[in-house]
Symmetry: C2
Subunit: 215 residues, 2 copies
């Protein structure tokens, strides 16, 4: 093994392809110019005791480069970013801004996005969703409006691309089962700008390619 | 101003006292031995345009030390931890483990905790909660069981206290409106161990003290 090893699923349903969180780590490694190997798990393996030694919650991705062994996509991307100027400025103030947006993506935007995606993809037609879904969407739209105001007139969340943009755009991808982002042209343009990066395209192709190989 | 400045609310309802997220930043600064000032906002100010220049979502805490200006409790705690061995080992492998648990707290445990707290505190009695609450509790209990297995026989998530324990224990605090943790004695003992730290006690007293002063 030359580079780090990243765990990923060998199969997921179509609706999840291109969204599984190893995509974030693959993208970060591509931006940083670090070659890696994927370590594919089937669902049963991912919940077994051997894999839980690496990832106690049985989720992907987990990361191992021989010296550093860790999990959580946010943590792995932050670890890679701390070692790569392509993902995070070296000065303390710039580093803090990139950290801010990594956490804002995961903790101020993703909770609403995830609740909506979970409602739509796993609980469709259940009675409770009729009353609850509009509440979740309203709160999420509030945050998306605030994010849009922040991004208006800018290419990136700060004055250059950082790991914060990587995390934010992968969070926004999880709205693709809805048309909500159509109401936020600033966010749509931003997401396209992020996803047009060659490193993202390579990461996406690699995740989708791994599914194909296992099929 | 000698040390950094941390934004906090001047008033919150009783159920939120001792839980607001500036507690995490106060605790991290206490562990790191850094004196700070709190910058109290009332609810109206926190949603106004001036404060949104600092925190675009109108939330607390935000942080400013004259050189670094940032927000998101997870990001601020990570920033402080990167500069303090009291919160994060200096070696790359140890740093990565602390990062892992910071993100695991916020992204593998907190989503279920927050959904439950939101259901209980803001939507009590609404029809949808009857069907949905048990689903959320069941998924959360799965994660708590996995976390308990990880912590069994250990004092901390790693071989010493880190910012990961700080984040995890403040997430578990948000279950206090329920009796769920009683079913996980390993987690109850862990939370007590974290909260017995003098730095936590000082941080908690400071948050509660700021409410009193403003009242």
């Amino acid at each position: 093994m030359s580079g780090p090893c990243v765990s990923a699923f060998d199969w997921v349903p179509d609706f999840a392809r291109g969204l599984v969180r190893d995509l974030r780590v693959r993208w970060a490694l591509e931006e940083a110019g670090i070659a890696y190997d994927s370590d594919l798990k089937n669902f049963e393996e991912s919940k077994g005791p051997a894999y839980r030694q690496w990832q106690p919650f049985g989720q992907v991705p987990a990361y191992d480069d021989g010296q550093v062994r860790m999990f959580e996509s946010g943590a792995i991307v932050t670890h890679i970013a701390l070692g790569s100027e392509a993902l995070m400025p070296r000065d303390e103030a710039g580093r803090a801004r990139a950290l801010t947006w990594i956490f804002a993506a995961l903790n101020s935007i993703e909770p609403g996005v995830s609740q909506l995606a979970e409602t739509d993809l796993f609980h469709e037609g259940e009675d409770w969703t009729k009353e609850r879904r509009p509440q979740v969407e309203e709160e999420l739209r509030q945050r998306l409006g605030e994010l849009s105001a922040q991004l208006n007139g800018r290419d990136w969340l700060e004055d250059r691309f950082t790991a914060g943009d990587l995390m934010m755009s992968t969070v926004l991808r999880n709205l693709r089962q809805t048309s909500i982002l159509n109401d936020y042209p600033v966010l749509t343009a931003y997401q396209h700008r992020c996803e047009a990066r060659p490193a993202f395209q390579r990461a996406l192709a690699a995740q989708l390619g791994d599914f194909k190989e296992a099929a």
